[in-house]
Amino acid sequence: MSTIEVSPAAQRTGGEQAYRVVNDFSIQVATVNGSGSQTANSILMRSIFQMGIPVSGKNLFPSNIAGLPTWFTIRANRNGWVARKKEIDFLVAMNPETAREDVLKLEAGSAVVYDEPMKLKELRGDLHFYPVPFDKLVVPVCPEAKLRKLVRNMIYDGVVAQLLDIDMEEMRKALYKQFGPKKAKAADLNWNAILAGSKFAEENLPKQDPFRVERMDKTTGKIIIDGNAAAALGCVFAGCTVVTWYPITPSSSLVESMIGYLRRLRIDKETGKATFAVVQAEDELAAIGMVIGASWAGARAMTSTSGPGISLMSEFVGLGYYAEVPAVIFDVQRVGPSTGLPTRTMQGDLLTTALLSHGDTRHPMLFPSSPAECFEMAMNAFDFAERFQTPVFVMTDLDLGMNNWMADPFEYPTTPVDRGKVLTAEDLNKVEEFGRYRDVDGDGIPYRTLPGTPHPKAAYFTRGSGHNDKAQYTEREDDYVNNVDRLSRKFETMRAHTPAPELILNEKATVGIVCCGTSRYAVEESRDQLEREYGIETSYLRLKGYPFSGDLEQFIARHDRVYIVEQNRDAQLTALMRLDLPVQAIAKLRGIRYYGGMPLDARTVTDEFVSQEGL
């Protein structure tokens, strides 16, 4: 076995010295998937959260049921930076297959808790090693041999808690919360394992590394939730009634959470009947087809998918655009093309989704960046789809959707829902003639009627073939052009209705940074790094929707250079801007792109920014 001879970085290997790194480090737990480590990792994350320390958790898992390597990273940061941190400070090495590589990748001065038989200590001389005989420790706390594989994980929770100074009472609370009152016996067993780990560490592992936690008050009132559950709640509170889906990672848990909430909240108390319908479709074509059918008939309908599903939905989305049928589609983006990396994150569908389907098409998109925005934008999406009678995409991603986030609690919606321009039988009595695709109000948005409206004037014929403003079949040049020009006008009307961007204008800044969605966490931290390390102040604009609001063009006009940060290879967000912006604005755009599938980190943004700026 080779050993790397690196002299210990003086500060980080302070040993018994006074050097301490408080509330600013990352923990990585390396395990095998299917080994049940998720519970132990959640408890670890939650106990730090309960100590009031800002925290984030990222699960890096394989596209596999059991047996392949998986890593869970927890970042604690007193300043509230929750983006992925590139460097690992504290490794818990439980997987013999990856342990060697995991250890070799660490920076000098990092700490390693590991399963003793792996003898990792021999690999390097510049790390703090904590060997733990997990197999030996688990036997007395878990008499049932079958369960030991699972309970073993709790032992590392105990060891880490002792080494990092995590309050054991918080860990106990987190554990019992996780198991719930129904599984109190299982919780007791696991609690004993945590205690065994903590006791072992106390007696055998003198603290050498500088990392530790100290209680803060930065998480008061906050919740922990994943973006998919947040989006699901948003749909439930939006009054969505028809849900159709085809399982796909990383989107499945959105609909699965939603089914749970619907069953809990949307069964009529008196009749015991559901105010919703959920259908698991045979494929994504059927899922979007059902949404189109249901929305056409007036329901608030949604589906959720990821890139491959978006590709399959293409034809129907074109129909939705052209026949003007509302639809709400969540795209929890993962790495493409093709099957790609199904369990890694990417902002890879922006361009294809904006222009999905053949012919001239444009679709509005919303870009949530946090669980609270997943909740709000889910509700916005239904209003938007019904107001504009068109498919709307909520572009989230695997990082936001499947990882646990510290979040502000969601606010109960107080505004009425917008069901759009729908004529009832009563309305029809007042109109001389109903023209389904007529631009009565000059905003490009026509009026529609719902099937089942008891009025002789209500009916119209919906088709994806050429139609005039009365919805009659036509192949005439002028009818076609009039209709698609009106669709352009409608798209322009949307511009004022997409959510306004988050904007930080710095008077001193000559350079701006623009991003959307989850890129925000790395960008926010990178702006801080640029200021502290390089003395560069920047302005910042985070887009929340497409078509882009006019703020974007003004923002670019105010700055000499504007960096577009995005998580894809081909600068897809920038490409969409190029379709919209005047040449002088386009000339100012620079790109910072990351597409390795991991959640974006601040250092990557900072380094690329500095390099392009020639600093």
Binding site: L285, G289, V291, G293, R300, H455, T462
Partner: protein
Amino acid sequence: MSTTMATPPKKVNRIGLELLPYRGSKTTLCAGCGHNSISERIVEVFFELGIEPWKVAKMSGIGCSSKTPAYFLSQAHGFNSVHGRSPAVSTGALLANKNLMGIVVTGDGDTASIGIGQFVHMLRRNVPLTYIIENNGVYGLTKGQFSATADRGSKQKTGVVNDMPPIDCCLLGIELGATLVARSFSGDKRQLSTILKACLSHRGLAIVDVISPCVTFNDHEGSTKSYSYVKDHEIPLQELDYVPYYQEIAVEMEEGEAREVRLHDGSLLRLKKLDRDYNPHSKMDAIRVIHDAEEKGEVVTGILYIEQGRETLEDMLNMVDEPLATLPLERVRPSRDALDQIMEEMR
């Protein structure tokens, strides 16, 4: 009193509507196309039964057959959707509004080729609607290529012979969960009308495979879907009679003369024995009859299979009685307390 002749009152149906709202725009299909006869039957049946046109959703995919919803029930909403995807669109529409009466018109290309995935899954779900397949064995709009329902040995206009076995949509329907399965011929007015009426009285998925000759591309010697071939080889299983629920039964049947089926809405379907007794409740008998006919090159028509009382998709989903589409906000947005409690659980 005036001596001039009053214009005779126009014929109205039992709900006081004239024929006009049951008609559609002028057909653009070829003169003599079987599909036009089917559209006429649809007009006739809805008029006769006195169904309000606005209660109906006319659904279709893409193709000659899928154009036809424009040619009937002008006062019903119609949706000419995507090739092969009318099952999904129709399923969605009925989930949104369970009070709609769904009638889907598709073709053999739409159903048996591009849309077979959606077709079979609609069968499994027993979606409560009437699904008509206007089956001519060829693609008309693209000028005469074989479809997947073309019989083995049937000849194209160019002389090309089809070597592959046909997909029989009725067999699939019986096997995979349709609860009323029938076959008919566009030229058999009486039988087709009666079958359509039975479908509209049935609760569940009704599939009607109607052999509907394509006069332009598949009506020649050597085709098994031509008018003359079907006329010569049609074997009706039974003589059908339908008495709507709102009418008294005028003629009583002798014991053993006919089977009677009381349909979901109370209407009566009579299946009078022809040369043999046939039990329409037996899947095995239905499958046997279809295979026997295929072997002999015959076209067996009539009600092949009927199953009553099976749960439909709406039943399985246990939906509220009112249409989901128009439930008021207070019934679909949970309370502030409900949200607060969920937030509390996540702290």
